[in-house]
Amino acid sequence: MKTKGKVWKFGDHINTDDIISARYLNTTDEKELASHCFESIRPEFSKNVKNGDIIVAGENFGCGSSREHAPISIKGCGISVVIAKSFARIFFRNSINIGLPLIELKEVDEIKENDILEVDFENGIIINLNSEKTYKFQKYPEFLQKIVLSGGLMELAKKYLKEKNNENY
């Protein structure tokens, strides 16, 4: 799987309140959540973001609350992948579980706002079409690949239910 998109650059410690403010957590609707994504810190984001765009950030992206509304709102904006130096752990597992691709990359400082990146997930390669630099990234460990390739955690739950049904669940 490959994706190509324009970069939206963010700093360190982007927290879940930055991604989606708690005042919008009274809904679970993906489109509505997407329309308020990054509203407090970048009000123009949700209006201008295009399908396939890429978020590039620093350390500890997604720190703070467990709200799955955060990765849902990012996914709802059409973001194809989030690349960061590191991710906070609950945001990381939420993204794996709902199928929002994440990449850990140490060299994010070399990537600039509006750069166009091409990401090759199978081979673990990112090409910056502006700087013409190529980066290699670590793919998910096998255990997490299984969840991602199944299409998220709930696909595994479906499989579990099917097996249970066969045993007269």
Partner: protein, 419 residues
């Protein structure tokens, strides 16, 4: 192995587990609230599940936007209520509900050695009782409600060893704010934080809850304290008599990834400035900053001992005329106890308002949201941009005594200044 590894290995049916490996564990309790629960229920229903794995092991606590602040939140709580009725899982109605991380231990639902997950980042609170407890997402909660299991990465453990004598007006909140300031907001990312040493061994259970509550603010996966006599006494007090497993302890110093020694003797009451919990310094560094609001409550500091500390400062004093002071007992039980001890009277006489138990203003939900340019001191856990309201409002985090003293003075102040 560390305590955390021992609990995880027991719950995946193995003799030993190693840091950084992925495992699937059985869970003893699943928590979700009015924000995260509805998403979990949607996922549960989408895959066509017909029953939960064990109704006794699921708890739904509508505490964030309750008593419902608007129609949308009322619809969310309705979803929880209907699900609870249909699948016969535990649900706390208004009148019984309190802030989840104070309520669940109070209800005797948390025991040492257990594995608890909650779709709320502050689920790490329960580690104060010597269990493995961690915040997860809604999809995680849905998966676990169906299967009774969930995936985990075994964390490395950092041991925090506290020694020395604490100054007056210093408690668990100050120790954890100081620690987060020391290691940073990602200083323990993916890791287990084990609190130990003579200071912890003598630390009251409420302060232990406060410390474990905020490990997520350093990125920690779980906070944990070896269960001891204080744990046992707490459990007895709430009517639970069990024999705590003596093996719930870390075997060797080598089992830790690293050990951080902290001398508490020089720690002042701490204040964390906007917009990160790691911006913590002695209150003395922030003296004189004018405040519009003081919030005393939350899953971090809404327990009875927190209210006692605040009342001690506020007794016979008046809140500054330009400050709103909001007191939020975390549960009905805490509220009733405060009433019996005369604390509520002290608060009202000094000019505070008492809110029903709710997360409310901590996350900018309701019951004390900030307007543009306003500044609050709060005993809550996060001071991110816009956390308590307007994106141009400011939250300083502190312990209950500092929040109470500042409410009297109208500016951030050391409790000594008003006594």
């Amino acid at each position: 192995m560390t305590i955390t590894q021992k609990i995880l290995s027991k719950h995946c049916g193995r003799k030993e587990v190693y840091p950084n490996e992925y495992i699937e564990c059985s869970v003893d309790l699943i928590l979700a609230n009015d924000i995260t629960g509805p998403l979990a229920i949607e996922e549960f229903e989408k895959v066509g599940a017909k029953k939960v794995f064990n109704p006794g092991k699921i708890v739904l606590v509508p505490d964030h936007f309750t008593p419902c602040k608007d129609i949308k939140s009322a619809e969310l709580v309705k979803k929880l209520r209907e699900f609870a009725k249909k699948y016969k899982v535990r649900f706390y109605e208004i009148g019984k509900v309190g802030i989840e991380h104070v309520l669940l231990p109070e209800e005797g639902l948390i025991l040492p050695g257990e594995l608890i997950i909650g779709a709320d980042s502050h689920t790490c609170t329960y580690g104060a009782l010597g269990c493995f407890s961690t915040g997860v997402g809604s999809t995680d909660a849905a998966y676990a409600m169906i299967t009774g299991k969930l995936w985990f990465k075994v964390p490395e453990t950092i041991k925090f060893h506290y020694y020395g004598k604490m100054k007056e007006y210093v408690g668990g909140k100050d120790l954890i704010l100081y620690t987060i300031g020391l290691i940073g907001v990602d200083g323990a990312n993916y890791k287990s934080m084990e609190f130990s040493g003579e200071v912890i061994e003598n630390l009251p259970i409420d302060d232990r809850f406060t410390m474990c509550n905020m490990v997520i603010e350093a990125g920690g996966k779980n906070g944990i304290i070896k269960p001891d006599e204080i744990t046992d006494n707490y459990l007895k007090e709430i009517g639970i008599r069990i024999k705590i497993d003596e093996d719930l302890k870390t075997d060797e110093e080598n089992d830790y990834e690293k050990i951080i020694e902290i001398d508490v003797s020089n720690i002042d009451p701490q204040v964390s400035a906007p917009h990160l919990p790691s911006n913590s310094k002695s209150v003395k560094e922030y003296i004189g900053i004018k405040i519009d609001q003081s919030v005393i409550g939350s899953c971090t500091n809404g327990r009875i001992s927190d209210l006692r500390k605040a009342a001690k400062i506020l007794k016979g004093k008046k809140i500054h005329p330009e400050v709103r002071c909001i007191i939020i007992p975390a549960t009905q039980k805490v509220y009733m106890q405060a009433l019996k001890e005369g604390l509520i009277e002290i608060f009202i006489e000094s000019g505070c308002v008492i809110s029903p138990p709710t997360c409310g203003p901590c996350l900018g939900g309701h019951m004390g949201v900030l307007g543009k340019g306003e500044i609050a001191i709060a005993t809550t856990n996060r001071n991110f941009i816009g956390r308590m309201g307007h994106s141009e409002s400011y939250v300083y985090l502190s312990n209950p005594e500092v929040a109470a003293a500042s409410a009297i003075k109208g500016e951030i102040t050391h409790p000594e200044e008003v006594i």
